[in-house]
């Protein structure tokens, strides 16, 4: 990722309000190549929504044109094309992202493609996005195949999440597409399924389904993934979700953390079991007493 010349940016707010109070939405940021629309958009990052988003993007990617995909709870919420200058600051220094209400090419419910053309720029664009995602995930998977069991589990979890999110998006697009575009949409969905077939195949193998089924490209990669996943299954991994366990059943962790994360305990840095949690509970009780008075 590139560091930008921040000299061109506005003065950041004196105190940026954090976004933890707001709904957690995942945004995937792509850099658009304004000079050549046929180039695949460059996937930059998947980040939780953050009130410092403008500053974050400026600091890490620079000014320019971006495509932002927004999802909440895994559900597609919106997609919009913005330039960094569209990000504005409100009077109380909270940064907001202005989303276009009309975006014929990228709106969730607006697939107003030319009926006679299956090669509309917006549709090509979406296919390019999916291809880039697939390439990136495959690259990451290859990079981790020689790594530890812990790294592989993290990558597989990320792949599964990405697959689920993208499939959901494609199904939504399929249901909204005009008839001439349904074939193209279905083809894209098939491509997506094939692209993420690595995860499904690896999981199938781990469930002792025949490993001879392959979906084309990536069979050697499939073999590496399957070996690792089988190894994980055979060794009865003791991955324990660090934060999920600490939630005491109040929340369901979506990923697992490697075994060495068990070293993180609630004993506190000074060894006084659950120090901050007890302290916080004391503060809350006091606040309630104050409120009653």
């Amino acid at each position: 990722m590139k560091q930008t010349d921040t000299a061109q940016t506005d003065t950041p707010p004196q105190k940026a309000k954090k976004s933890r109070t707001v709904g957690r939405e995942i945004k995937e940021i792509y850099r658009l190549n304004a000079e050549n629309e046929t180039d695949a958009p460059e996937f930059l990052s998947a980040v939780p929504i953050h009130a410092n988003e403008r500053r974050y993007i400026k600091q890490n990617y620079g000014a320019g044109l971006y495509l932002i995909e927004e999802k909440q709870g895994g559900r597609f919420k919106g997609r919009y094309e913005v330039s960094i200058e569209d990000f504005t600051e409100t009077q109380n220094t909270t940064l907001t992202v202005e989303m276009p209400t009309e975006s014929a090419d990228f709106g969730e419910n607006d697939f107003d493609f030319e009926p006679e053309s299956e090669q509309s720029n917006a549709w090509q664009y979406q296919l390019l996005i999916e291809k880039e995602k697939t390439k990136r995930l495959e690259t990451e998977l290859r990079a981790t195949k020689a790594g530890s069991q812990n790294e592989m589990q993290t990558t597989v979890s990320a792949l599964e999440r990405a697959y689920e999110q993208n499939r959901e998006l494609m199904m939504l697009m399929l249901s909204n597409a005009q008839k001439p575009q349904q074939d193209a949409t279905q083809q894209a969905l098939n491509m997506l399924e094939k692209s993420f077939g690595i995860v499904n195949r690896a999981k199938a193998i781990s469930d002792e389904i025949s490993p001879n089924e392959t979906s084309g490209g990536g069979s050697s990669l499939l073999g590496d993934v399957s070996k690792l996943i089988n190894s994980i299954g055979q060794n009865a991994p003791t991955f324990i979700p660090l934060l999920g366990g600490l939630l005491g059943g109040g929340g369901t962790p979506k990923t697992v953390r490697p075994a060495h994360a068990q070293n993180a305990t609630t004993t506190g840095a000074d060894g006084q079991g659950g120090g901050l949690v007890d302290l916080a509970n004391k503060v809350v009780l006091q606040q309630k007493e104050v409120t009653k008075k």
Binding site: R24, G250, V283, Q287
Partner: protein
């Protein structure tokens, strides 16, 4: 291109409990942005501890964990989602986490007095 403002109040109404991934990613983002630990601690205490949000104990436990363990968790997120930012984590991760621990503990103690 016409815009609509992503209204913060609308998002607040739809807030869902944070997942462990989101907690980690949020902390990493604060680190990369050089957000002051004091501000992070204040925001967390006001919006999570005092609001008694379900994930508050988990966040506190994470902050209270050994710094090295927190760094390991952040490294995984960096590897999976933020390729290239491992350097920022390695350079300033420990100082950031120690600062955050200090601020959270100090602010909670002040409130408890």
């Amino acid at each position: 291109m016409s815009d609509k403002i992503l209204d913060e109040s609308e998002l607040t109404e739809e807030a869902e409990p944070l997942t462990p991934d989101e907690l980690i990613a949020s902390l990493l983002q604060d680190l990369i942005l050089d957000n002051p630990p004091a501000d992070i601690a204040t925001d967390f205490i006001e919006n999570f501890v005092l609001q008694e949000r379900a994930e508050s104990p988990a966040i506190l436990a994470m902050i209270d964990a050994p710094t090295e363990s927190i760094i390991q968790l952040l490294e995984q997120v960096v590897t999976a989602n933020y390729n290239g930012q491992i350097e920022a984590l390695q350079v300033k991760g420990a100082a950031f986490i120690e600062g955050l621990k200090f601020e959270v503990k100090t602010q909670l103690e002040n409130l408890a007095k």
